[in-house]
Structure formats: C-alpha cells, structure tokens
C-alpha cells in the first residue's frame, strides 16, 4: 500500500511537469508524432498526391492521382483533381488540359476552364469519366475535381 501510494504521488507530481513540458515542446512533439507515424491528410480532403505536372508558358497544370481510397479496398467511384497554377502572370481567361489520369498513354478527357467565371467543361470524356464535381477558386490556383468510375 505504501509503495502504491508513493508511486501515486510520484505520478501525480510528474503530471505537473508533463503539462509544462507539453506546452513548451508542443511543436516538437507534434512534428515527431506526424513524422513517426507517417500520417497524411486524407486524399478525399486534399486531392491526393500530384503525379503529373504539365508546364505551359504562364502556368502549369498539376494532375493528382485518382482517388478511390476506401477503408480496406478501393471504392467504385472516386475523383481526380486537376490544378492550374499561374507562374508569375495571372491565369489566362481560358485554360485547357488534356488529361491522362491513369497514365496509360491514352488521354481520358479534355478539360476547359474559364478562369473568369470558374466554369469548367469536359470534352472527349471516356466512359469512366462521370462528370465535373466542382470548380474550386483556391488562394494560388484553380482546381477542378472530376468524378470517376473505377476501371
């Protein structure tokens, strides 16, 4: 009983120090946690990793990997995100991109985006391309998510 009581008091005293250390070292601990676990933001939130970059004169097009991620297996429907990022100058009024999201050498769809109205149009879409989900006006770029059916 005496040993348990001593241990109890030691733990309760350490607790005070832990709170202090936690506030002081919060950023370090957070970094350690994220780096050690390798955790990332869900691709359903941030669009997933960029797998292709298409360079143009005043802008570049970033194509993310297609997202079908499920809990244990891939879902039947997902999306691919395409970003237009300006380089130096503002984006032109109309921008285009031919996208081969699965990188099989065949273009899967052609995307046209009016950067003034934020309206996007799909052209030459294959059977696995379901349509435009939404156009996003982000801080440094425009993004379009295109709904896909799993092949």
């Amino acid at each position: 009983m005496k040993l348990r009581a001593t241990l109890g008091y030691i733990w309760a005293s350490i607790a005070i120090l832990l709170v202090f250390v936690m506030f002081i070292g919060n950023h370090f601990l957070a970094e350690t946690l994220i780096n050690t676990t390798g955790l990332k933001i869900s691709p359903w939130c941030d669009g997933g990793e960029v797998t292709q970059t298409l360079e143009y004169d005043t802008y570049k097009v970033l194509v993310h990997r297609p997202v079908f991620d499920g809990l244990t297996e891939e879902r039947s429907q997902g999306f691919v995100q395409v970003d237009w990022k300006s380089i130096g100058k503002p984006l032109p009024e109309t921008v285009y991109a031919g996208i081969d999201y699965d990188q099989d050498g065949v273009q899967d769809f052609h995307l046209v985006l009016n950067t003034q109205t934020n309206e996007a149009t799909l052209e030459d879409a294959g059977t696995y391309v379901l349509g435009i989900e939404q156009v996003y006006d982000l801080k440094t770029q425009r993004a379009v998510r295109i709904r896909l059916k799993h092949k």
């Binding site: 009983m1 348990r4 009581a5 001593t6 241990l7 109890g8 008091y9 733990w11 309760a12 005293s13 350490i14 607790a15 005070i16 832990l18 709170v19 202090f20 250390v21 936690m22 506030f23 919060n26 950023h27 601990l29 957070a30 970094e31 946690l33 994220i34 676990t37 390798g38 955790l39 990332k40 933001i41 869900s42 691709p43 359903w44 939130c45 941030d46 669009g47 991620d69 499920g70 809990l71 244990t72 939404q134 996003y136 006006d137 982000l138 801080k139 993004a143």
Partner: protein, 392 residues
C-alpha cells in the same frame, strides 16, 4: 441528519492569506511565463491591458481556490470565461481572415479548418487503417494543427483523464455556466438511462466515420459550429445539417442546462466526453468518497452536473467513469466526505495534498490554454470600445 449536525463543515487545508499567496506564487509565475511566451510586450495599450487582465484574472481565481478551499466555484468562472473568450477570439479571427464564419469547400481543400479535440475519436480508426487523417485541416502548420492538438490531447489525457471536460475543453464552459442560471432547476429528474447516450453517440460516429471516411459528428451534429464555423447553406443536405446542429446547440447547450442545472451537452450527448471517460483509468488523480464519513444525504448525486455519481457510488466510494473532476460534489458535500484522491493512497476524508497536486496541473493547463484566448478577447473588447469594431 444527526451526523450533519455533529460533523463540522470541513474546508480542506484552508491556509492563511500568507500561505495562500505562497502557494499561488508558483502558479502566477507559470502563468506569466506561458502567457508572455518569451515575446516582447506590445506597445498597443489594449494588447497590454488584455495580457495583464488575463494574468490577474487567472492568478486571482487560483488564489481564491487556495484561500477558500473551494474548487468548483472558481474553476467554473475561469472555465466559462475561457469558453466565451474562445468564441470571441475564434470568430473575430475567422472574420478577419475569411470575411465570415462560413467554411467553404475551398477552405477545407486547402487545409484551413482548425482541428479540435472533438474530432479525435473519429480519426483514430481511419488513421490506423488508411494512414490518413480524415479531416480537412493542416498536419503541422497554422492555427490548431492536427499534430499539435493530438499531442496536447494525448499528454493531457494521461494527466487529467476526463478532467479535460471541466478544465480544458473550450466549449464546455457554455453549458457549465448556463447550468448555474436560476436558483432551482425546472426539470428536477432526468432519467438515468440518458447518460448512456454519449456512448451510443460515440459508437455511432466512430463507425460511420470509419465507413464513410468523413468526420460525421462534425458534419452532422456538432452544436459548437454555431459559435465557430459552419458550411454555407448551398444544398438541402447542408440545410438539414444546419437545422440539426443549431437545434442541438439551442436544446442541449442553452435551454436544457438552464432547465435541469446539468451539463446536458457534456453529460448526455458529447461523444468526445464518452471517449475521454476511458482515459480516467490512467490519470493519477480521481474523485473518491470516504464511505465511513458519508451520511448518504444524496446531495452529491443531485448536484453532479454530468451524472457521474449514483447510489452505488455512495457505498463503493467511487465515481462513475464519466467524472470530469470539476470538484462540485467536493465543494458541496456537507461533511467533507468527498475528495480529490491520488490513486494508490487511502481515502480518508478531504486530502488537500492530492487536491493541490491536481490543481497545480489542471489549473495551469486551464490558465495556459485559456490565458492567451482571454488576453486576445479582452483586447478585442477594448478594440470595440475604442474603435467601434472588434476587427483590426
């Protein structure tokens, strides 16, 4: 009753003013160190006034806790001010940065959604299965990053267990404060079965989040979106979600706490609270009843704001796992039979050593977590009085 008359009303280790000041000094130094954060003092008198006001406020309340031997009375005030300060700070910052409280799909896609502890139960299983966090926030950058909040939560759960819900949660002060409005509750009896609802909610949101890979509590239920940020009503679905969270806010956070004098959101609904209950097992301090002293007057059962005591507690001497260690039962026990207790030690009436050990850790957390927010909120209020706007 005879016991009540013969036993003196105990106030644990009530020191003199000098002793109380001495015990308060370490806390004041720690608060000063954390709130000032090593940064230089601002030249704007309003910022300075905010910081001084915050330090004085938290230091005074701690002194009063030590001097009077009462815990809950002063904790509740600090806790309520934290909740109000958080709302003022958060909303004004949002309006400055985004122009409104509306959360757009763009904000979410860019990881601009601050992470809060309520999301934790929903992200753990998906993180294990998919190695991803199913929340549109930032891992390490910006205000309330995911890594920072998880690290904070992990350490503080070890230290306080569910004490988080009465000493750290920046939402809990709302229903805690409102549960103290009015002299007597209008609704005197709440069916005890309701206290299992948070566990049902926990199961529901954990499973649905796991299947959908979205934080379903945030999307559908979180009442505190009403005082933080919410999605723009751009579809029928979002309209339904808005009606649900506003109703829960009005019902469980505003109206029912006043009518029942209980923390109805925290005690009867919050899935994070249910989740946090399990961490009580590892924290070093709990609340115990000295069964030899207890006169079974049931006062503690009636006043416990989170339904964490039942008849069995009076014979077993233990609270239920949902205890938030607020200290209300300890303050109100007529014979001093309830106490903060260091695990592994004997339960023998009030234990001021255990109480002080707990207070130093818990109050330091509350003052540090809330100190910056209260300073900012005071600054915003002064800004409002001097410029007519809370925004810079």
């Amino acid at each position: 009753m005879s016991n009540m008359q013969t036993e003196p009303k105990l106030t644990p280790g009530k020191p003199g003013i000098g002793g109380a000041l001495l015990k308060t000094l370490p806390m004041v130094l720690m608060i000063l160190f954390m709130i000032l954060g090593g940064g230089g003092l601002s030249t704007d008198w309003r910022v300075l006034a905010g910081v001084i006001g915050s330090v004085v406020f938290f230091s005074t309340l701690f002194f009063l806790m030590v001097y009077t031997g009462k815990t809950d009375r002063y904790r509740a005030l600090a806790f309520a001010v934290l909740a109000g300060a958080f709302a003022i700070t958060f909303i004004t910052q949002l309006i400055e940065v985004r122009g409104s409280m509306v959360l757009t799909p763009e904000d979410m896609m860019q990881g601009d959604t601050p992470f809060c502890h309520m999301v934790l139960p929903m992200v753990i299983l998906p993180a294990i299965f998919t190695k991803t966090i199913i929340f549109p926030g930032s891992l390490l950058e910006g205000f309330a990053s995911i890594g920072s909040m998880i690290a904070l939560w992990f350490v503080f759960s070890l230290v306080f267990g569910r004490g988080w819900c009465s000493w750290g949660c920046f939402y809990g002060g709302w229903d805690d404060a409102l549960s103290r409005v009015g002299k007597k509750p209008v609704i005197k009896k709440v069916n005890s079965l309701w206290k299992y609802l948070p566990f049902a909610m926990l199961l529901l949101v954990v499973l649905t989040s796991l299947v959908s890979l979205t934080p379903t509590y945030c999307t559908w239920f979180c009442p505190f979106k009403a005082i933080t940020e919410f999605e723009e009503i751009s579809s029928t679905l979002i309209l339904i979600q808005t009606v649900i969270f506003v109703s829960i806010f009005l019902g469980l956070v505003i109206i029912l706490p006043v009518l029942t004098h209980k923390r109805t959101q925290c005690g009867l609904f919050c899935p994070f609270g249910a989740f946090q209950s399990f961490t009580n097992a590892v924290s070093p301090v709990d609340v115990r009843i000295d069964t030899a002293k207890c006169i079974q007057c049931n006062k503690c059962l009636n006043i416990c704001p989170t339904f964490s005591l039942d008849e069995k507690s009076l014979t077993s001497g233990k609270t239920l796992i949902t205890c938030t260690k607020c200290g209300k039962c300890i303050d109100n026990c007529p014979v001093g039979a309830i106490t903060y207790h260091v695990k592994g030690t004997e339960v023998k009436g009030k234990n001021n050593r255990a109480r002080m050990l707990y207070l130093y850790a818990a109050y330091f957390f509350l003052a540090t977590f809330g100190g910056g927010m209260v300073a900012t909120a005071l600054y915003r209020i002064l800004l409002l009085f001097t410029t007519g706007s809370m925004l810079t």
